[in-house]
Structure formats: structure tokens, C-alpha cells
Assembly symmetry: C2
Homo-oligomer: 476 residues x 2
């Protein structure tokens, strides 16, 4: 008999039919009631076994064990469930030694401990919910762009170009480490390396996405990106997934509209498809925050926060306006900022949080940053001082999107690259798009894990990617 | 006025409405007829300009230039199109110097030449079609698994484990190359490296996907994988995308059924959504094959080949049966095989092609390979000699899927790892899934680019990924 998913059984009101279910035992009460989970939903189905079931079987029904159940779906008399399964036959698929099973702990295991057993944490309700939500968000990304006619472009992971000067990169090589081939001057001879040159892991697919946008008009990437920064924080990963749409003919306003529509769409999708997971995570957050002082707790519950984002336009201000707000803020006057607020200097995390969490109390799009703190490819504004950049800042997360209109004017781009010492000859392919039918265009990057953090209400980015890569950690 | 996509204009019979279109000029005839493309479709829209248009504008309407057109959609009198646009106003967005534009060649540029200008080849009809089809196939992958309740799992790219012993790997490091830190014995001190150990780029997400399947029952990966093999062939890339579903409770037959359903679904999706692109590619293939001798041409056209796969079950044979067929084949008797056919030795490409292209003339699933030529994690059959492996072989491509039922029995797995010198202690996390509620399960990997090759009828894998990575080549 073919397996039926527990989700499908629980979603239906139908009773009095036979099924086969398979899954892992979450608990076994009174030698009679099994809570069985197969990962298709956060909810367990209750399996009721007859009291005359062979003890050789019942003693093997332990938390973590896998079983196959043939039975009949019947109306449940218990509360919290409409239906349950009366077992006719139970087969043990895999035993689980409760003394050794790390998830068989009397006390609720901490998130820190679960990180150490990331290979097993999927089986907890919390991580089940997180990764089902992550799945839905990822699917929604593809659905959103596909519906709008964007072409999904797989930009290269291994690259010889340092797209943004975005910081430290991981080197990719097959040269022997102990005794690599050297040039006459003693330097490493990368001509002997696999790709015949020095290569790194990409920090962004943007520049290659721009090449695609110059033919397909609308493209997006969704792939892994890398930063070899020694940042051991709750917001940084060395390996993370990024989504980068790039659209020909869009200006910075179109770009902001697209980003807002996109963020609302994927949050709305998860709200629609993962309501039970999100409600569980909302309760988890409430429980976690009980340990915090009142004034540090979230003002809105998780569901309310997501609904708020769905129903309210993001605030849009220029960098110059943001600096004015910060300079005139009570926080600044009381000298509560660690870093100075000053036009021309990048906003620090504390400043962004003030704008988003204290001043506007909603997501904020900051535009038109000073050109000297932004990348060479951003379009120069007429004031000669700023560029058409945009950052989206989210409550509790900080920067979740960074984007810009791109400099499509060859002369302006060349001049800026010269000023910023970007080697134009190595990037002839990028310049070519400005030579042959250049068009205004714009795009942005969204850090996928930060979005998953925002939607799940988790606070450590290591808890929203299956197997996090961070300094000194590449386990599993 | 907001831009309308050319695809939407051409798809509709509607006329007599004003539009704005933007795109790149493919050709300009008689100072009057512009063929304009914006990448949304393989078809160009014809823009008709009035003969009194300012010469300052018309002389800038060159192949490759980008323009914006305000005009009226009218019924077309020309053949091959239902509608065209009567231009009211034309703005030049970006000029294109025809003397320097590499795609402004009188002769049709070769695929080899277009590979050198991969940053511009998206603008040709051939590569426009290929990458729209690639997009559709990728979207169909997600749609297929999402519809069936699979969880998309982002397995790690940087890894410390050599999953399959699948061959040469790329090392990932931030250690200084010139003078790396060394241990007392002179060896490199990887404890000083970013992750505190030696790390590589993944060759497969399977083992981590198995961890997910042990909680969610159905998971899949779709991400980049890497091989540092010095294979300069038309079928190998150093960086390619792979799809790896993994399903708890599935046996090898379920696995074959899933793979067949999956392949048919994504081909069917492209047939439905990219008919014009595929028809163009079919004609391209016919033109290309005209240069070949009759007996080397494809028996079926591209569309017919895809329809054949949609409408016919794949042949399923065991490795042992395959060897018998090959031993008894006319090709073998006439000593046409370069490599010996012998039970226990892996099938060579020539053998696979014989089975698929000459003997069965359809995709073939070969199962139950000798255990000694397959990976440690494949489930051992009762005969003691073979494992529950399956390879799917496709005409013109060779192996497109490799999969197996996994060894879920701890004792059998440990014994096999010992025999094959796989370090069990480093893989404690993999073994844990067999200790705590193990279940039968199965999965497979599909090389995405090989699938794109199959569907587009292209013959070199470098032509179906945006920016191919191959030995001595990491351009763009």
C-alpha cells in the first residue's frame, strides 16, 4: 500500500479509510498513543495501537524510531486533532537507542547545542518549521520572477574577477600546497593552476547578471556567494545564498518598486503556505523573549510583524535625510551612538537600527548615498556627490537589500573606475555592454538567509541555513 | 508610458493601441523596417518608421543599438507576423558602432567564436533560445518538487568531506600562498586556515541531502557542484549544476519511477512554454547536421525526439543483462568496441551509446551494477555481488542520471566503508542517521547541463551554461 503523507491526512476531514503512514516517533504515551511525524507538516498524527499489541513491538516504539503503520483513519475524540489513525499493523523500520539519541533529552535542547548536531536538528519542531519556511521562500523567489518573465541565470561561482572589491575572498586552486610551482622571481605560477590564473569564489553575480539583462531585459540569479571575512557574528556567514535581479530600462524608482513587490510577495507566499509553521515560530519567539526584560521584547509578534510589512509601504528617504534625522535625534543628542553621524560616512548598524526600529518603526529604503562609500558601478547623480544607490533596512535585521541604478554611460563609468583604481582592461566584457547598445538598468541583491531570519523570527543566522559555514567551522 | 514586453504584443491579436517598447535592434531594412528584440521572446517585433524620420535618428538605428519606441500596434501586412508597430517617436538609448560590434558579422558567427564573446552571445537567436529553455527547465525542476511536497535543501558548497571519492576536488583556502604557515614537520598547518581545516568545493550534496530526508521524507538540492578533472571534452565542465532528490521510504523501483516522472515533467514543461525556442533550435540542428554525412545525422528531429521521450517508458535492464546484450551484439562480434565488455568492468561511453542509440533506440535505465565499481553508500543486493544502483542513459548524451537505493543497514554500511577505506569516524554524522531511526531511502543526481543539452539539441556543454568553467578557462 502506498504511503500517504501525514499532512494530507490531517488536512482532510475524511475518515474511515485505510492508509499506510511512515515516519519518526516523536513520543509514545501510555503504551497506546504514538505521535508520529514525517516532516510533511509540523503536526504529528496520533496513532492509536491496540492494547494487545505484541510487546516485542511496543518496546521498540521509542522517540526517534522509524515505523510504518497500516491502519484506519478515524475521527479523533482527543482535542487538538480532527482525525487519528487506528493501527492495524505496525512495522519497526529503524530502532532508536533512547539512551544515545541526542534529541531524547528531558530538558529542551538549546539552539547552541542543536547547532552542534545540525545533522539531526531537522527532526525538531523548530527546525522542521524553519526549513519548511525556507523552502517556501525559495520557491516563492522563483515563482515571483518566473511569473514576471525574468530569466534565471546561473552566474559563475568560480571567478577570476573581484566584482565589487567587496572584501576578502576564498581562493580556489588545485596547485600543490606543499611545493607549488613558482615563477623565476619566486612568486606562485598561477599559469599552472587549473584555470591558468588565480581564481576565487564569487562575492556576487551582479556583473554577469548585467550581461544577461542586456539581452533578456529581466534576469535574476539565486545562488551561493562567499565572504572570507573573519566575522563571528549572528548576522554573518562565510557561505550564503543571494538573489540578484537585474532589469534593463529600470531606474532607481522602478528598482525600489520591484524590491518592495518582491519582498511582499515572498512573505505573503510563506504566510499563505506555512501558516502553522509560522504560528509555531511566533510562539517560540514569545517564549524566548520571556527571558528578556520587558523593554527588549519585540513590540509586535512575528505574525503581526509580517502582516505589517505586507500592508505598509516602506519608508523611502535619502541618505542626506537619514543623516539629518540621526543628527537631530534624541539618541544623538544624548550621545548614545558609539559612532559619529556625519555626512559622507557610512551608516553604522546602530544608526540603521535607530532609523528602522525607533524612528520609522517599519522597513526603510535609504537612497542616494555619497559616491565615495559606494561601488564604482553605481549611477552618478547630477549633484556630483551622490549615486543612485538604495539599501533596504529591516527591523531586527539591518540591511537586507543593497542595490542601485547602474552607470550605463561609458565615459562616466570609465572615469569612476579610474578614480577607484578598478582595472578596466580586465573588465573589457563589462565595458562592452556600455559600448554596444547600452541602456539604463538597475538591480539589487537580497541576502536570502537574512530574509529567512526576518520571516522566521530567529536571531542567529546559523539557525536558518542547513549547515552554516563560519570561521573555524565547516562541519558536515 | 510603461514598457510593454514584445512577447505580450506578439502573443495578442489586439491592434490599434499605443505602446512603448524598448529593446535592441536586430536589423534595419530600407530605412523603414526595424526588427526589434527585447529577449522576452525569440521573435522580433517589426517597427515601421515614417519616411520623414530625422536622419540624425535613422543613422543611429544600427544593429545592436538600443532604442525606445512609442507607437501604435497595427495589423501587419507583411508575412510571418500578425501585428507590427507604427512608430510615433523613437529615442536612441545606446548607440552601437557597427564596425566594432562583434555580432555585426556578415557571415554567421561560429559557436566557437561566440564562446569567446559569451558576454554578448545572449543577444543571438540561438543563445536567446537556449537560455530561455534553460530557465524553463530550472523553473520546472522547482515546480515539480514543490508540487510533490519536497523541501528544497541548500547543501553546503564548501565542505571538509569528500562525499563520494568522486574524483579531483578544488581546494578552498585563505592561507597565504607564498609562505603558508607550516607544522613542525614542514606540512601546511590547515588549523590556521579559514575553517581550521582543509576544505574543498563539493562534488555532491547527496550525503547532506540524506540528512534532510531523514526528517522531511522528501528533499531535493539544486546547486553548483565541482570537478577538478582535466577533461577538455564537449561533455565536461569543472563547475556545473546538479539536482539531487532524496526520498525516505523509497526503494530502487520508486527511485526509477521518480526519475522518469521528473524527466518527463521538465521536458513537457519546456515543450509547453518554449515551443518557439525549441522549434528554432530544431531547425538549427537540421542546418548543422546538413554538413554531416547522412549516416551520422539524427534519426529524429529535436521536437520528435522530445515527444518520443514524453510518450515512451524508458527501458529498464540490469547491468548483467546489458553486458549480455553487448557481448552478443554485432558490434562486439565485429570487434568494433575499443574497450572490452566484461562483467565487473564499468560500461564505457561507447557501450552506453550502443545500448541507447543502436539497440533500444530510447533512454535506458541500467540497474544493479557490480558493487566494486560503485560507491560505498549504495545498498547491497542479496546476491552479494551487486548494488541497487541505477544509471539513466540518454541518446546523444550518455549518463544523465546516476542514483541508487542507499544502504540503510548500519552493519552493512560499516562493513562496506571498511572494505573501501572510507573513514567512518569523520562521517559520524552520516552514520548517526543509520543509528537513530534509519529507514530505507533512495535518490539520484541529474546533471542539469546535460539535461539542457538533451533538450536544446546542442552538442557542446559549454554552450548551455552562461559562462563555462573548464581547464584553463575562467573568463568573465
Amino acid at each position: 500500500m502506498a504511503r500517504t503523507k501525514i499532512k494530507d491526512i490531517l488536512l482532510s476531514d475524511k475518515t474511515d479509510y485505510t492508509v499506510n503512514v511512515k515516519g519518526w516517533v516523536r513520543s509514545f504515551r501510555n503504551n497506546q498513543f504514538i505521535a508520529l511525524n514525517d516532516g510533511s507538516t509540523i503536526n504529528n498524527v496520533q496513532v492509536v495501537i491496540t492494547l494487545d499489541t505484541d510487546e516485542a513491538i511496543t518496546k521498540r516504539i521509542t522517540t526517534g524510531a522509524s515505523i510504518s503503520v497500516d491502519g484506519t483513519v478515524i475521527a479523533s475524540l482527543g482535542k487538538g486533532q480532527k482525525v487519528e489513525i487506528k493501527a492495524d499493523n505496525i512495522t519497526i523500520l529503524g530502532d532508536c537507542d533512547t539512551d544515545k539519541f541526542p534529541l531524547q533529552l528531558k530538558n529542551r535542547p538549546s539552539l547552541e547545542y542543536l547547532r552542534e548536531i545540525a545533522h539531526l536538528r531537522f527532526r525538531t519542531s523548530t527546525f522542521g518549521a524553519i526549513f519548511r519556511v525556507r523552502h517556501s521562500l525559495a520557491f516563492a523567489v522563483h515563482q515571483f520572477f518566473n511569473d514576471r518573465g525574468f530569466v534565471y541565470l546561473h552566474t559563475p561561482i568560480i571567478t577570476a574577477s573581484d566584482a565589487e572589491g567587496a572584501g576578502e575572498m576564498f581562493r580556489v586552486s588545485t596547485l600543490p600546497t606543499e611545493n607549488p610551482p613558482r615563477n623565476e622571481d619566486g612568486s606562485i605560477d598561477y599559469k599552472e593552476d587549473f584555470f591558468g590564473r588565480c581564481t576565487n569564489l564569487t562575492v556576487s553575480g551582479q556583473l554577469e547578471a548585467e550581461l544577461g539583462a542586456m539581452a533578456f531585459s529581466e534576469v535574476y540569479t539565486f545562488g551561493p556567494t562567499f565572504r572570507a571575512e573573519n566575522s563571528n557574528t549572528a548576522r554573518h556567514l562565510a557561505e550564503f545564498w543571494m538573489i540578484e535581479p537585474e532589469v534593463a530600462f529600470n531606474d532607481i524608482t522602478d528598482n525600489m518598486d520591484l524590491a518592495e513587490d518582491f519582498i511582499r510577495y515572498i512573505i505573503g507566499y510563506a504566510m499563505q503556505h506555512n501558516r502553522e509553521d509560522l504560528e509555531f515560530l511566533a510562539q517560540r519567539l514569545v517564549d524566548e523573549e520571556k527571558q528578556k526584560p520587558m523593554n527588549e521584547r519585540s513590540e509586535l509578534g512575528l505574525i503581526e510583524k509580517l502582516e505589517f510589512v505586507l500592508n505598509n509601504k516602506f519608508e523611502r528617504i535619502t541618505y542626506t535625510e537619514a543623516v539629518d534625522i540621526l543628527l537631530n535625534s534624541p539618541a544623538n543628542k544624548k550621545k548614545k551612538f558609539q559612532y559619529e553621524v556625519k555626512w559622507g560616512v557610512d551608516l553604522q548598524s546602530e544608526h540603521e537600527r535607530y532609523l528602522v526600529e525607533k524612528h520609522f518603526k517599519k522597513p526603510v529604503i535609504v537612497t542616494d548615498y555619497p559616491k565615495d562609500i559606494k561601488s564604482f558601478y553605481m549611477r552618478q547623480n547630477d549633484d556630483g556627490k551622490t549615486v543612485a544607490a538604495m539599501d533596504i533596512l529591516a527591523p531586527g535585521i539591518g540591511e537586507i537589500v543593497g542595490g542601485s541604478q547602474r552607470e550605463e554611460r561609458l565615459d562616466k563609468l570609465e572615469q569612476r573606475m579610474k578614480e577607484m583604481h578598478i582595472p578596466a582592461d580586465e573588465m573589457y566584457w563589462y565595458m562592452d555592454t556600455r559600448k554596444f547598445g547600452t541602456v539604463p538598468h538597475a538591480g539589487f541583491g537580497l541576502g536570502f538567509e537574512r530574509m529567512v531570519l526576518f520571516v522566521t523570527g530567529m536571531t542567529n543566522i546559523r539557525d536558518v541555513i542547513p549547515f552554516p559555514r563560519t570561521p573555524k567551522n565547516a562541519e558536515f
